[in-house]
Amino acid sequence: MKLEQELKQLEDIAKKLESDELPLDEAITLFESGVKLATSIRTALNEAKIRIETVVENSRDSFTIEPFDLE
């Protein structure tokens, strides 16, 4: 899932917990999924997957992605 959607979902969980009179089971389920989501977003944000790749077009609409070294 995209980070943007995950952040939105986290906000939704927080709002739902804050606004609804939820059965305990449901509250716990929401709490758990919120905690899991927050953990996964934080992991993603700290993961440095940044890299530069060069795009080479072999023939029209047929592309090769090659790693690019800045040095």
């Binding site: 305990l24 060069t54 077009e57 800045l70």
Partner: protein, 416 residues
């Protein structure tokens, strides 16, 4: 003026070439002296020595001019480009080794738009009138992009700058480079091709969330490729949100006006392309805190209710159901505690909350509420069934404030 032309063959004076050039130089320097001249700059050459050679011209005539490095370094830098109309003060002299006369410039002031500038203004006006700069046609940049396309030179500093900013602000991203030369005669065409390639790549292979068209600083001629009309039209039609960042803060190019967003430098383009990781983490933490706070409230409010329901199970049903309830509660709490421990420790947050959760999981809590636990003396396992006991057996009972030892007088089941 120390020269005379003798009228007769006998008395004529023959100059050497050097003498004549020296005479001419002296005549020009002393006869004309320091003057101001206005003209348009052309044929500009920046020599490795730092001297700048150019031609000053008007419609009918031209003049060789030079601005020496020693003079340029003393004065505020002036951007002179071919096409600029300048007002120059200097001395007219002869460069004797070549017998060329030239103007040595000491003060140089641009006074108006030259040909390049006029062409730029003309194109800008034309595209503006056609609506290529219209604010309502500009796309919003995505809040959180996953992949960024960069059209620039693979050798330039711009790519390095973009990479280092993205790495600091938002390392959760892929950068796809579409290399192109960014100056010279072939640059406009190459830039257009790179743009087309990026669009096709985004549609066929890997979606690009934003496209940065950029290069670092340079002279007006260096940046001219970004003032190309065809490139501007392709950029306007680009379905991917675009950022144009050409040269330094003071430089404006046509692509800057057409792109969805203009950034003053390559680094600034990277800044606007992505959010800040620290801010996003703050957002996550804020939401997580609200979730934890709410979970705590829910637990506090509902725990009594839950206990009552558990008690009801105990009163009217076989023990197994009660155990199931307890087990579910314990499992839920254990899971929650695991999560809580990881998160709260990581965040150094609200230790009183942690203590509260621990308190609620304390096995002595039910004893405080009037329940008791029964054991065979010397055995730590609680007695769970009447079938484990017979009349006359000793049992040990634990209460909140102490223990009792008693003998069994009667045994009967619920059904009895």
């Amino acid at each position: 003026m120390g020269y005379t032309v003798y009228p007769t063959m006998e008395s004529r004076h023959v100059f050497t070439v050097s003498e004549l050039n020296t005479t001419a130089r002296t005549a020009l320097e002393q006869g004309v002296g320091q003057v101001w001249v206005q003209g348009e700059v052309s044929d500009l050459t920046r020599a490795p020595s730092g001297h700048i050679y150019f031609t000053l011209k008007d419609e009918g005539s031209q003049l060789s001019a030079v601005r020496f490095k020693s003079r340029t370094s003393l004065l505020a830098p002036v951007t002179i480009e071919p096409g600029t109309v300048v007002l120059a003060q200097g001395t007219l002299t002869v460069y004797e080794p070549r017998g060329r006369y030239q103007f040595i410039v000491s003060i140089l002031q641009p006074i108006g738009a030259g040909a390049i500038q006029r062409a730029f203004e003309r194109l800008k006006r034309k595209l503006q009138e056609e609506g290529l700069f219209a604010p309502e046609d500009k796309s919003e940049l995505p809040a959180i992009p996953n992949a960024i396309g960069v059209i620039t030179s693979s050798k330039g500093a711009a790519l390095r700058d973009v990479h280092s900013v993205l790495k600091r602000r938002w390392p959760h991203i892929r950068i796809f480079l579409f290399p192109s030369t960014v100056q010279g005669d072939t640059a406009p065409k190459e830039l257009q091709e790179a743009l087309d390639r990026a669009i096709r790549f985004s549609q066929s292979t890997h979606a690009l969330d934003v496209l940065i068209l950029t290069r670092g600083g340079g002279s007006a001629e260096d940046l001219a490729a970004f003032n190309d009309e065809a490139l501007a039209r392709n950029l306007y039609a680009c379905p991917i949100p675009t950022i144009s960042a050409v040269g330094h803060e003071i430089d404006f190019s046509i692509t800057d006006f057409v792109a969805d967003r203009r950034a003053p430098t390559p680094s600034a383009a990277a800044e606007v392309a992505v959010p800040d990781r620290a801010e996003a983490l703050g957002l996550v933490n804020e939401r997580l805190y609200r979730i934890l706070r709410q979970a705590r409230t829910v637990w506090k409010e509902r725990l009594d209710e839950f206990r009552l329901r558990a008690d009801a199970c105990l009163m009217r049903s076989p023990q197994r159901r009660f155990e199931t309830c307890e087990q579910r509660f314990d499992l839920g709490l254990a899971e929650a505690l695991r999560n809580m421990s990881v998160l709260w420790k990581a965040q150094h947050a609200a230790s009183n909350h942690w203590a509260e959760v621990l308190r609620l999981s304390d096995p002595s809590l039910p004893l405080q509420r009037g329940y008791s636990l029964t054991f065979h003396p010397g055995d730590s396992r609680p007695i769970r069934s009447i079938s484990d006991l017979a009349i006359g057996d000793s049992i040990e009972t634990r209460l909140a404030d102490g223990r009792l030892v008693s003998h069994i007088q009667e045994v009967s089941s619920h059904e009895a």
